[in-house]
Structure formats: C-alpha cells, structure tokens
Symmetry: C2
Subunit: 201 residues, 2 copies
C-alpha cells in the first residue's frame, strides 16, 4: 500500500531530486511537492532552464570552464590579463574566485587533485594542457589556487615541479585568518600560518 | 566582473534551483554544477522527469491528492475502505500517512488551515467539499489528521462543528510520546498528553 499515493512519475522525480547535493529523500519529496504546487512559477521555468542547459552547455577546450561557447567567455575576453593563469581544482572554485572579483587573469581547471589511493594520476587531470599553456611566452605567472587540503597541497607541489621548465613565476594563495574568523574557533595550523606570515600594521 | 563566469543560462538555472525548499544560493550553485557534470546520468533524466510531471500532473477533483488521473489512484482503488475519510492539511501529509501504510480509507486534502490573520477563511479551504463527501451515507468516520499546531487544532475544532450535522463519527490522531522519542527532549504539552492518555500494559 505504501508509496502508491505519489504515482510513478512523481516517484521518479523525487529519486532524481534526491541525487542533488544538499537534498536527501525527505527534502526531495518536499521539493517535488513544491514544484507541483508552483507549476507556472517554478516547475515550468525550471524545466526549460534545465533543457536549455542540457542543450547549450559546453566545457571550454582551453581552460575547462563551463559555458555555452568554447573558448569560454572568460578566455575570449580581451580585457583580461593573459599573463596570469590561475589554476583551480573544480569549476566551482573558478566561480568562487570570479564572485570575489579579485582576479583579472585566465583560469585553468584541473578537474580534481592527484590521489594515488583513488587511482587519480597526472594523466587524469588537465596537467599536460596546463604545462603547454604555461609555455606560451605571454604567460608570466601561474597562481596555484588549490584547496588548503593535503590533496590540494601535494598536487600544488607536483605542479610546481612540472612548471620548473616553463619560464613562469609560480605562486600560491596566502594562508591566514579568514575575514570575520574568530581565533578561538580556528585550528592550530591556520593560526601558526597566520603568525608566521604576520604583516606590519 | 563578478558572476560573468557562469553565463546567463546557468545563472537562471541557479536562481530557480535556489527557490526549491532546502536549497539556498550556495547549495543551488553546487547542485547546478553537479547537474552539468553528470549530464547523462542526472541532468537529462531530471529534465525529462520534470517535463513529464509538468505535462501529466493533476489535482484529484474528489480528494485533492496529486496524480496523473482524476479521480486519483487512491480514490479509484476499490479495495480501499470507503467508510473512512482521513482529512489532512497538505498532500505531503497524505504521502506521509501512505508511507506509514496504516490507513486503508480515502483522504481529503484541505489545502491548509484556517488562519484569520493571514486571510485564510473556510471558503479558501476544501471544507464545503468535505461536508458534502461526509454526507454520503457510506461514510461512517471522518479522521481529522491535522498537525498538532494551534492552527491545525483550531481548524479541527471548526471542522468538528461543521460535521455535527452529518451522520459520521469524528476522530483525531492520538497524542503521545513519538516512537524512539526521549522523554528528556519532549515538551511539557506532549508529556502531559501522554500521561493523560496512558494505557495499561
């Protein structure tokens, strides 16, 4: 008797929604009901937005960003500084840096981090493509904006070795106290890094 | 410069995803990226599931359930007990009771609760339809399965008055300690109700 109430179409929708990050089975049910209730305002526009995304989305051949054209909007933008390539793990990191609006260079999405235990080696990431881009004489600096995790940092060290042959400066993001962060809640590693890199006021 | 990275199609998708209950702007971005990454496994099936839902979904004229046919699967099911009507606030409550699998009667979705402050009066809910259904001589019992909130309970009292003329028994859900609930974490109202309604072991 259980589960008959919703009908197979809705059940399938709930199962698919539950696979989105941030939604579980219970919130997927709530989301499905909300969609059905707001048919004109939400279900219809969301359906067409997804269909449009499905039909138009591309991965940029140059940098790995997601866009509707390749090379992507960022790579095409002639106002951007072509001497700086900022290397990130995932497209989400690129978006985060763009939201911050502090970088006017180009990006390079690796597609993850090196992880021998998970079978992810250099050939599984966009590393050869990065070395090729870094060899362009216009490129002066490669900023390794990888996560401050063990995997991110060991990947950064590997990249630094690989980039030794290219005539570029290699930099990394600064470590320190996040803006708004309370010292009491920070780990020892962050505090040690912040003290070590202290600046005159 | 900020926000250009994602392109207008993706921005629109993120905005729509952020309107789902349980997702905020940040988790909507993560969900959109996840969808784009899992194009075949998730984006395409979700798009067609939403399109199918948009094209087939109906509200049951009899009980207010959501289904692809009206009367709905539950109302059509001749194995169900037509002498019992279980009144719920929302379709989600109907689904929850069906998942529990304890009721073999029919349902009636009110569409909310009475709320004079929000301008929700009896005519805004499916109350007249309920009274009409309860007047059917086959109906013996109306179970008011409304939320144990002030709004739910005052709506239940209003319905009890309205149903006085119909020849039906009116019941409500039992109050008590939820299964798995720890007394220490329960409010005084629930504990008082559980003591008052105590049963011999």
């Amino acid at each position: 008797m259980a589960k008959v109430a919703a009908g197979p179409e809705i059940q399938r929708l709930i199962q698919l929604l539950a696979r989105l990050p941030g939604l579980g089975p219970r919130s997927a049910r709530r989301a499905a009901l909300h969609l059905v209730k707001k048919k004109e305002q939400l279900l219809e526009p969301l359906t067409s937005a997804l269909a449009e995304t499905r039909d138009t989305i591309l991965t940029c051949d140059a940098c790995g960003n997601i866009d509707t054209q390749s090379p992507c909007t960022l790579c095409r933008d002639q106002a951007r500084d072509r001497s700086l390539i900022c290397v990130v793990e995932e497209v989400g990191d690129l978006w985060a840096l763009e939201r911050a609006g502090v970088l006017n260079g180009l990006y390079h999405v690796l597609g993850g981090t090196l992880s021998p235990l998970d079978g992810v080696g250099p050939d599984d990431l966009a590393i050869a493509k990065l070395i090729a881009r870094a060899s362009d004489p216009n490129v002066k600096e490669v900023l390794l904006a990888l996560n401050a995790t063990v995997e991110g940092q060991s990947t950064a060290h590997y990249l630094m070795d690989q980039l030794a042959g290219a005539n570029v400066a290699v930099s990394r993001l600064a470590h320190g106290v996040p803006i708004g962060g309370e010292l009491d809640y920070l780990d020892e590693g962050t505090l040690a890094a912040a003290v070590k890199a202290r600046k005159p006021m």
